[in-house]
Amino acid sequence: MGEKAPGWKEIPIGGVIVHPGNSFEYNTGDWRSERPVLDKEKCINCLQCWIFCPDGAVLVEDEKMAGYDYEHCKGCGICAHVCPVNAIEMIPEDDISGVSIDEFGIKEPPPEI
């Protein structure tokens, strides 16, 4: 956005989208008004948050809940609501206390299938 739009010569024939799943480049994270924050101490890695996330924004590494993809999380709060041990708290976006840059780092797109 903001850059010059591609001309007709740059667009693939028929306007087809040649990169499967390229919506990954579109960040829906800026829709959010509240962000989920995980308390790792409380988390029991039941992955209920992951299975019920509409945006695939709950990251799982080695069978464990590994935080959030804040680039895409829309902040709906389902994860916090379904968490059986209340390990997820929804915090208003304008509250930036305790935010670390690492958590908000840009995520690599998943490898092609």
Binding site: F24, G56, K74, C76, P110
Partner: protein, 314 residues
């Protein structure tokens, strides 16, 4: 292998994030979970609907698997054609390996506009699975009533007011209509019970012939609820027996979940803004009519599955 979340989490996500469905959308949860059951190559066809428009906004696509965009009425016909082409090419040795075919449609594209193409595809016996994500109205175009919309639900084309109390008809029983096609497998599911739902999709994909799954998926915009309750609310629909979980395999009806205590349907209604008027004193007879309808449908189902009848606990 029994289904567990730890194993499922290792599979690649077929629906990429960055799609433009509402925050807290229940339908994406249903689609995501269905795709978790897929192993190996798959081709998807989507009827027009929320999930089709929100995942394919140019120049982006959220699909990491082959996907065919369809009009409202022809997802069933398209998937028939693709499956037939695949069979023909396979016969000539031009394609190797197995490919699964899944068509998705909302209730508008399945109950209403796409019913003829779905019926045709089921009757012709193509090897495909059709999943209807039923959010009970045309949510994508602005909450118009469909034939899946429940009795007395307020929508923009059946508003509740002094003239009518919301939709004046009961929803049609599409799952039973599909059962009348005598296909090898069909089921009704809900994403809150992911084990049951993903298991059903897995089972369906392993069966040869046409299959159908009707999955209730909440829409907080149209149902007038809070996004965080998107999963709770479909659970309540199952607990009140408004949306029973069952499957029909080769003509044999089986109930998959019997609520310990059948809740009154008012428990489901009272948390939804579209039924707000039903809680008024003067609309009590309508609420009773709704409850009687649920009880009757439940009794009919239990007769088919051979389970004993539960009486409502008030």
């Amino acid at each position: 292998m029994p289904l567990n979340l730890k194993e499922l989490s290792k599979k690649p996500e077929l629906l990429s994030p960055g799609h433009r469905a509402c925050a807290g959308c229940g339908s994406v949860v249903a689609i995501r979970q269905a795709l978790m059951a897929v192993d190996g190559p798959v081709v998807l066809a989507f009827a027009t609907g929320c999930m089709e428009v929100s995942t394919t906004i140019y120049p982006y696509t959220s699909w990491r698997v082959p996907y065919i965009h369809n009009a409202f009425e022809n997802a069933g016909a398209t998937i028939s054609g693709v499956e037939t082409a695949y069979r023909a090419l396979k016969k000539r040795g031009k394609i190797k390996g197995d490919i699964k075919f899944i068509a998705f449609g909302g209730d508008g594209g399945t109950y209403d506009i796409g019913l003829q193409s779905l019926s045709g595809a089921l009757e012709r016996g193509h090897n495909f699975l059709y999943i209807c994500y039923n959010n009970e109205a045309y949510m994508n175009t602005g909450i118009q009533r469909s034939s899946a919309t429940p009795f007395c639900a307020a929508t923009t084309t059946s508003p509740s007011g002094t003239v009518i109390p919301g939709k004046t008809q009961f929803p049609k029983d599409l799952t039973a209509i599909v059962a009348a096609h005598n296909i090898p497998y069909l089921a009704q599911a809900s994403p809150h019970n992911w084990r049951d739902y993903i298991g059903k999709v897995k089972k369906a994909l392993d069966i040869e012939g046409p299959k159908f799954i009707n999955v209730l998926s909440s829409c907080f915009r149209g149902w007038r609820t809070q996004p965080v309750t998107s999963i709770d609310i479909v659970k309540t629909a199952v607990e009140t027996c408004f949306w029973p979980l069952y499957e029909v395999e080769n003509g044999e009806w089986k109930l998959n979940y019997m609520p310990k205590e059948k809740l009154p349907v008012a428990e489901w209604i009272k948390v939804q803004g579209r039924f707000k008027h039903l809680l008024k004193e003067e609309n009590k007879p309508l609420l009773q009519e709704f409850q009687d309808w649920v009880d009757k449908q439940w009794d009919i189902l239990l007769q088919k599955t051979g389970d004993t009848v539960h009486k409502v606990v008030v």
